[in-house]
């Protein structure tokens, strides 16, 4: 009797599984935007290219495993070009949600082009895979429809910089700091964080210059002269890659040598910056140490060396630089893949639950994926480093702070 019942149950389960698989979609639609031109192309195209690389890899293997249907399903990447324009981006995000009816919504790179997606995703109750939009205003307790995949949230990202200045700075003679930032969500939030960390530290540090400039600024000569007039011991410049290129070139052009100069992108997009500013222009610049330099232990996806090899094979023409943003794009893809492998349905809140279940457990080439309760990324931290030249005149990273990850001492003041 028991044997007959077991056989009947097994047959029913088999039938149920077959029906389950029969309901599976022919493809999983991932909707995203990219900027092929405009100010954010240099941070958007590497992210997008990394996702495309992953899609091609997975589809060559028959797709990604989707637990909700217990089978591998091919991915269809629905991607539109927003041309770095936020108004165009808003229209296209809407199109992805309402017309294309994508299963997963992935934001474009950077806070500026992520901002329109945050509102649209929330309004349509779509969970947003925020790739690199780190702006503080995106993450709140009343918005469950977002999580940051690959960069630390901007409210904590600059902590190693501020901590270095407030802990080690006074001993080195750093008393006066100049803060220059581009007025956008990404760098504006980082500037607020730097100010807050310095103020709360109680260290004898004075911010003697604190100015925002439009993100579209391409000329800093007069600003550099104004900063120099304040005689700061450290200069923190927070901008996007084109801002850093223009700023660092202008610093060289007017022959100014700040004792300490921090910029974001020499660390994040080193190849691009070296190409435009030159190795000499980057020497002694303080910056974030990217995952490419840290070789994190991995429990899912390719290791850094393998990813680099796959990238070089796919993008042989070198038109898109390999850097922090390409790693960020691949990290997003890995989170999506892992999410689909644990989510029991494609319901947006179930996807959220699956993403949050990975927090602290998923270790990729970008470090440990960890989220705070609002979806802000708090795991993939980047230490403070300084760029130096090796014996062949090429750029190398020296990790400076925190001390436990340090690989050398800071060169201060800049010779």
């Amino acid at each position: 009797m028991i044997g007959k019942a077991s056989a009947a149950l097994a047959a029913m389960m088999m039938l149920a599984t077959q029906a389950y698989a029969a309901d599976a979609p022919s493809e999983i639609k991932i909707g995203t935007l990219y900027a092929s031109s405009g100010r954010y192309a240099s941070i958007s195209m590497p992210v997008h290219s990394a996702i495309k690389l992953w899609v091609d890899q997975k589809n060559a293997e028959g797709g990604v495993y989707v637990k909700a249907f217990d089978k591998k399903i091919p991915i269809k990447l629905v991607a539109y070009d927003d041309q770095s324009n936020t108004a165009t981006a808003a229209t296209l995000y809407n199109q992805l949600v309402t017309q294309d009816k994508v299963d997963l919504l992935v934001a474009d790179s950077g806070s500026v082009l992520t901002a329109p997606a945050v509102t649209i995703a929330r309004d349509h109750k779509m969970f947003l895979f925020d790739q690199t939009g780190t702006g503080a205003s995106f993450f709140s307790k009343d918005n469950p429809y977002i999580a940051l995949m690959a960069d630390p949230v901007s409210t904590i990202w600059p902590k190693p910089v501020a901590d270095f200045i407030t802990h080690d700075g006074p001993g080195l003679g750093i008393k006066k700091v100049a803060l220059l930032y581009s007025t956008n969500e990404f760098t504006g939030t980082q500037a607020n964080a730097v100010r807050k960390f310095i103020k709360e530290s109680g260290a004898p540090i004075e911010i003697v210059y604190d100015q925002g400039v439009p993100t579209e600024t391409t000329n800093y000569t007069v600003i550099i002269n104004n900063i120099q007039a304040k005689q700061p011991d450290a200069v923190i410049h927070l901008g996007y890659a084109p801002n850093d290129i223009a700023f660092l070139r202008n610093v060289q052009d007017v022959g100014v040598k700040f004792k300490m100069l921090f910029c974001i992108y020499p660390g994040l997009e080193t190849e691009l910056l070296e190409k435009n500013v030159g190795a000499k222009g980057l020497q002694h610049v303080f910056t974030y140490v990217p995952p490419q330099e840290l070789e994190y232990p991995v429990n899912f996806g390719m290791k850094m060396a393998d990813f680099r090899k796959a990238w070089d094979e796919k993008y042989k023409d070198g038109k898109i630089e390999f850097g922090f943003n390409s790693v960020a794009g691949y990290t997003t893809a890995l989170v999506i893949e892992k999410t689909l492998s644990v989510a029991t349905s494609l319901d947006q809140m179930e996807l959220r639950k699956a993403v949050f279940s990975l927090s602290g457990n998923l270790k990729t080439l970008d470090g440990t994926f960890a989220l705070d309760e609002m979806g802000g990324q708090i795991g993939e931290l980047t230490p403070l480093g300084q760029l130096e030249l090796n014996e062949h005149g090429h750029i190398k990273f020296v990790s400076i702070y925190p001390h436990e990850t340090a690989t050398g001492k800071p060169v201060y003041p800049r010779p």
Binding site: S42, T183, T217, T221, N250, G255, K275, E321
Partner: protein, 306 residues
């Protein structure tokens, strides 16, 4: 105060060069070349090619870019403009046509060169002239910062400003000392009367269009040094700024552009010094102010009626 003023004059002289080609084209043909900034961007690629492919001083790109785009301008003129001029509203149609043309140029350049920022080391500009500079002003024969009243300015700015002054001088000589220039001024002043007196307006206009594009490309040679880097998408911003400079000086008056450029440059540097967050608004504020206070531009009345 002295630093932003001097920086503004240098920067502004360069913007005079950026705008003068646009103004020449509008003055003669009454069409607005919205692809102006894209020709500037292509000029930047000429300088980039001269430096990276041929290993030459980017300054060599100036005559090459001018010649190349003068010829391209002549060809484009005969393909596009006569048809445009026959339209009922050529000014409005030129907006649409050249906007489309701008998009095509940007898209093709992106396909060929990619989207990344490119630049040329500042020390390479006019490096070959650093010996001459050392002989005149003293110091070492290197292309380091340029000292004016004891203040350091990028040498590339001084070179760009000098070339701009020379280019504006050449445009002046062309307009006031050559027969073709005299005919050009006649067309600028009264197009219908020029046609009635038998002036070959097409020939004059083609020359102006070629020179206008050539000057845009020359300005582009200096773009990597003035803007830090450039991308195929850089043209739109350049067109907007050129338009402001031109309107400020006087639409249709190339010499007013020189003044417009300097006013823009000095204003920009002062705003960057005292209200840096608002610097982006400056072109639009200036545009609105000049249209409200003096719609004909700073030099409008005197030259256009003369």
């Amino acid at each position: 105060m002295l630093y932003p003023l001097i920086a503004g004059v240098l920067f502004g002289l360069y913007f005079s060069l950026v705008g003068i080609g646009l103004n020449l084209v509008f003055g003669v043909m009454r069409i607005v070349n919205l692809a102006h900034g894209d020709f500037l961007m292509l000029g930047a690629f000429v300088a980039f090619g001269v430096y990276t492919a041929a290993g030459l001083d980017p300054l060599v790109g100036v005559p090459i870019a001018f010649a190349l785009f003068c010829v391209a301008g002549l060809l484009l003129y005969w393909i596009l403009v006569p048809r445009l001029q026959r339209a009922r509203d050529p000014e409005m149609l030129s907006f649409i046509l050249f906007f489309g043309f701008s998009q095509v140029i940007e898209a093709l350049t992106t396909i060929v060169f990619g989207t990344s920022e490119r630049s040329i080391p500042s020390r390479e500009l006019a490096n070959s002239l650093s010996g001459v500079r050392a002989a005149i002003f003293g110091g070492e024969a290197t292309n380091g910062p340029f000292q004016i009243f004891g203040l350091s300015f990028p040498a590339s700015w001084v070179v760009a400003a000098t070339v701009s002054v020379i280019a504006i001088g050449c445009v002046y000589l062309y307009l006031y000392r050559t027969r073709l220039g005299t005919l050009t001024r006649a067309v600028m002043s009264r197009r219908e009367e020029a046609i009635a007196t038998g002036i070959n307006v097409d020939r004059v206009s083609a020359a102006a269009f070629g020179i206008g594009l050539g000057l845009a490309a020359v300005a582009g040679v200096f773009a990597p040094f003035m803007f830090g880097s450039f991308t195929p998408a850089f043209g739109i911003d350049a067109t907007v700024t050129s338009f402001v400079v031109v309107v400020l000086g006087s639409l249709g008056n190339p010499l007013g552009t020189a003044l417009g450029g300097v006013v823009y440059g000095v204003s920009y540097m002062l705003v960057q010094t005292y209200l840096s967050s608002w610097a982006d608004l400056l072109p639009y504020v200036l545009l609105i102010a000049i249209l409200l206070l003096r719609p004909s531009g700073l030099l409008g009345r005197r030259v256009r009626v003369a």
